[in-house]
Amino acid sequence: MEVLLGITGKDFTLVAASKAAMRGATILKASDDKTRALNKHTLMAFSGEAGDTIQFAEYIQANAQLYSMRNNIDLSPSAVAHFVRGELASSLRSRKPYNVNLLLGGVDPITDKPSLYWLDYLASLAPLPYAAHGYAQYYCLSILDKHHHPDIDYEQGLKILRMCTDELKRRLPIDFKGMLVKVITKDGIKEVEYDDEARIACP
């Protein structure tokens, strides 16, 4: 019941992840951060098997940062996405594959174009205007199909994200403890103040 959401707009990419850290039916933590910054303008959100997620995400983070230090330039979001896919694909045919689903959000530092990459544990890679993982796909993709446009501004993006999280609160059987929302623009990655106190009643 982990939720990952991503929305691109005119000059930004929004990435949102649920704050509940779960183990079976128990919620261990209500302020979990399921994201890692890979460089100044690329953010990775992850869900999947408990140990694998952070292990894999931090391995990728370390390698992306090593590249930046060695070459004095960051990998573009597209380059990072293809690097991550390669790592996940070779893991898939190893003795113990990583069971991790990912969303990679970024803004290209040269062209200033926002981008979002959807990657599942099989290492299927798809560049998308908006994306979700897990059960959230069934609830959110239709809302995004209806309301998303490639040239929406930041406020409109947040409004659509709100529609998605409201629907999730309304329909998911387990409380996912609200969303942690981050936005990537050409100026870098920022956490967004996101109110999840409001109770959404089911009809």
């Binding site: 959807w118 290492a123 796909q137």
Partner: protein
């Protein structure tokens, strides 16, 4: 239903015409019945040769990247482009290397031999058995439907424009009868010294 070949869905077809060949694919990427992307092309170009890959999406990417590497190395060694028939043998041997842990893809090769000017198409199973064909090759989750439409529409010695119409109708009508394929198409018409790529919208449902 959980065969690796039909998790993501997709279809590809190649046809021979008069001094031309055509290759086309759909654009869907799904997870069982859920469509994730409607912009996932399955045809990749390697100089004069075109390779269509259907099957498990991760292996479509892995195999297309692998052949980009192999064909680039070939070009550096030989200082010329790879010919379609050589490409067919490269695909076959590369797939058979993974005989007991295969890539879950059904490749299709199409191109015109630049030396002889002869059209060439062929298909493979996932472990590299080559299927040479004089008429058409189909692959993917809509392959049953494609056999039907191709058998009905294809005729020998079609001119490039007629071949485009034939392959487009064959693909579009086949994927409309398959829940796991569709959402638009890419069509390549390959002539001796001209390649035309067309994007078809197709049904978006």
């Amino acid at each position: 239903m959980s065969s690796p070949f039909s998790i993501n869905g997709g279809a590809c077809v190649a046809m021979v015409g008069k001094d031309c060949v055509a290759i086309a694919c759909d654009l869907r990427l799904g997870l069982q019945s859920l469509t994730v992307s409607n912009n996932f092309p399955k045809i990749f170009s390697y100089g004069d040769v075109y390779l269509g890959l259907t099957g498990l999406a991760t292996d479509v990417s892995t195999v297309s990247d692998l052949f980009r590497y192999k064909v680039n190395m070939y070009r550096l060694r030989e200082e010329r482009n790879i010919s379609p028939s050589t490409m067919a043998n490269l695909v076959s041997s590369s797939l058979y290397e993974k005989r007991f842990g295969p890539y879950f893809v059904s490749p299709v090769v199409a191109g015109i031999d630049q030396k002889t000017g002869k059209p060439f198409i062929c298909g493979f199973d996932s472990i590299g058995c080559i299927d040479f064909a004089k008429d058409f090759i189909v692959s993917g989750t809509a392959s049953d439907q494609l056999f039907g439409t191709c058998e009905g529409l294809w005729e020998p010695d079609l001119a490039p424009e007629d071949l485009f119409e034939t392959i487009s109708q064959a693909l579009l009508n086949a994927v409309d009868r398959d829940a796991l394929s569709g959402w638009g198409a890419h069509v390549y018409i390959i002539e001796k010294d001209k390649v035309t790529k067309r994007l078809l919208k197709g049904r978006q449902d």
